[in-house]
Amino acid sequence: MGAGKLVLTLLFLAALVGAVPPAAAEYADVLLNRRSEKEGMRPVVFPHWFHRIRFRCKVCHAELGFKMRVGGNDFKMSDIAEGRFCGACHNGDIAWAPDKCDLCHSGKRGLPTGIYGGHETGGPGRW
């Protein structure tokens, strides 16, 4: 009986520790993996913090037409090469060109598309 309670306590502790998310991503980091891994590339990490220092939200979300919902923007490398979406800046002029594959395709394989870094509410968020 005593051993049982001890095991239960240990399990409870393990569950609590497990419930704390591991140090994961910077707040608002987006991982894009709709096509990357299927095409043999690492998924893309899009860090909002990095871009926000250089551009206001309105540049990408109004001028370039990125929808404000992860997974809402369906584009391919061919779009980028033709100057749409990321390609409006990632053209070797404003930012590095798309031939620098590994700088964007830098994510961990096996992770699904989503917004990472925790929204901290633990509510029924749909991110």
Binding site: L16, A23, R42, V45, W49, K58, A62, H105, S106
Partner: protein, 196 residues
Amino acid sequence: MRVSIFQGKTIRLGLAAALVAVVSLSVLAQQGWDTLRKDGIHDPRGPGVKELQEPAEALSKLTKDNTGNQVRWVQALEKGEINPRASIRPDTKIQVYDSDVLLNLKGGMPIVRFPHRQHTLWLDCTNCHDHLFKAETGANKLSMLSILNGEQCGVCHGAVSFPLTECFRCHSVSRPGQAPKPTLPIAIPHGAVPPR
């Protein structure tokens, strides 16, 4: 009997230790920035992490927050710590609209003051109007449930802009008779009528 007291104590001690561990872990998680190698979404063996800018290098210089990216983004912008471009096309019309809207006039929480200015420094009118909010005061039925579910204000707050744990950054205007800075948790007994 002795054994059961010992077990009870063990469990209570264990619980206390676990709580302390959880709290200190969450506090630790809020101090400093993870390196890209250790952040859990970058491939630590990939070539990208060797070249990309580390969050700490860029963010440690900006006005500090205790949540999100640990940066007060609006303040960083207003103080000139960052100077992000507002457009990349020469013909884009950049608008900043300076008008506050008071929301949640009948609720129990402090009134929400929505400042257009800070929002339009970053965003374009079309980012919210009219697909998220009608451009008419009182025409939008807002609910915290929707917001917590990633709709309305929750499209950004809780995902990319300051998180929903910061209740009083939005609920910032006290009602008559309300303490100027309420502290959580606010204990309102069931059936009690909130002050108006």
